[in-house]
Symmetry: C2
Subunit: 253 residues, 2 copies
Amino acid sequence: MLNSALKKQLIKLKQKKYRKQFSEYIVEGVKGVFEAIHHAEVLVVVIDGVKRDLPEFAQIILICEQQEIHLEFAKSTEIDAIKSTETFPGVLAIVERPDTDIYNLEISKSVIALDRVNDPGNLGTIIRTADWFGIDTILIGEGSVDPFNEKTVRSTMGSIFKVQIAETQHLKQTLAKLKDDGYQIYGFDIKGTSLNEIKNYQKQVLLFGSESHGMHEDLKKLIDITYTIDKFGQAESLNLAISAGIALWELKK
Amino acid sequence: MLNSALKKQLIKLKQKKYRKQFSEYIVEGVKGVFEAIHHAEVLVVVIDGVKRDLPEFAQIILICEQQEIHLEFAKSTEIDAIKSTETFPGVLAIVERPDTDIYNLEISKSVIALDRVNDPGNLGTIIRTADWFGIDTILIGEGSVDPFNEKTVRSTMGSIFKVQIAETQHLKQTLAKLKDDGYQIYGFDIKGTSLNEIKNYQKQVLLFGSESHGMHEDLKKLIDITYTIDKFGQAESLNLAISAGIALWELKK
């Protein structure tokens, strides 16, 4: 049974402002919790009491005991209050949110920058795809969804622990600074040079606008080359994560 | 005000079995309804009564009158019962489901085939991406999500009307027949020939397994070449729609 402070904490962590204020976020699912234990700072693990004897849960319990991680068992009625998905996968962890302040991080050679990304699933898929292609920094501008939103975390499939998330409240100034530091700014838009021409430059930022609002005019001025993914059919646009995936493939292959 | 038969019909159309039985599906949103009127057979349009004087809704009303499409206005209380999204966009259409029986359709040169795709958003994104790359047939095997699911329809962003959806209850036999007809079967998996090597053959099927279950062993036997998207980082896998998008880009570019 969970104490009321923990219950309140879990409910509050569904909200962006408390994830920021407490500097914590929630990871759900057996695989996610295992990865969190290995790659992040886990503060509390909560397991559905009726599942404690199932092999994979028993293994999590063992690891928590070995690593002295605070472990709690929840009753079914409690789970209804704390779960963030319809079908609770039986385990969650409260994880310490890493420092995401762009000015405290060492930025990698290739960076994906996102202007006002607002779909949590798209953001998670971009983080997962970046991890596949060995891009280790994602820069997220102001007005974007919280990268530690539970839907984003889930759709990263564990890559949230492997890719460095950098946040800025001043994307324009941050990009200008990266440009001063020798980064090429590659923008992606509906009109531009064919993606076929993309070069893996020494240091580069791949900048994408939001699906609903496009790219801010102020950011466009900073772009060195605008690339476009050649169209062969009729659709008006590509999904943001698909565009990022294709761009990363063409850059890295 | 909606009559009770229409209300019941709309509620039933949220379920796969009734979409099949009635051979109808629902499209929501101004853009989607416009596209449906232009590219599909619209049976009924339902507009939120309080929005009838807004310009874009007034235009839909005008088109419905011109084309003699059955038009109804709904009260707020009725919308709560019929809407499939949290925020109803003010208009929906009941659209005639096209014939999707693989044996009644003329199949294009390049086909995407999906084994047990179960995420409606992924399927919609694949349809949208196929439309961008000019691939005009998507073959959907048994055990897959309904392509006329409202989430799928929404995430196609109108491409549901442009890409031919072919359904089969016997994917193995259908692929074997396509192979007999001269199609190359290209499979996509975690291990295989680098995608860099893919050739735009005369006729080809790009076959993808499900995210959760992979590809059925029986289908693997039909594959001529298995391709893989080279990995440069750590993620265990790519999202299905991302894999399909990258494969289509590399095939078509």
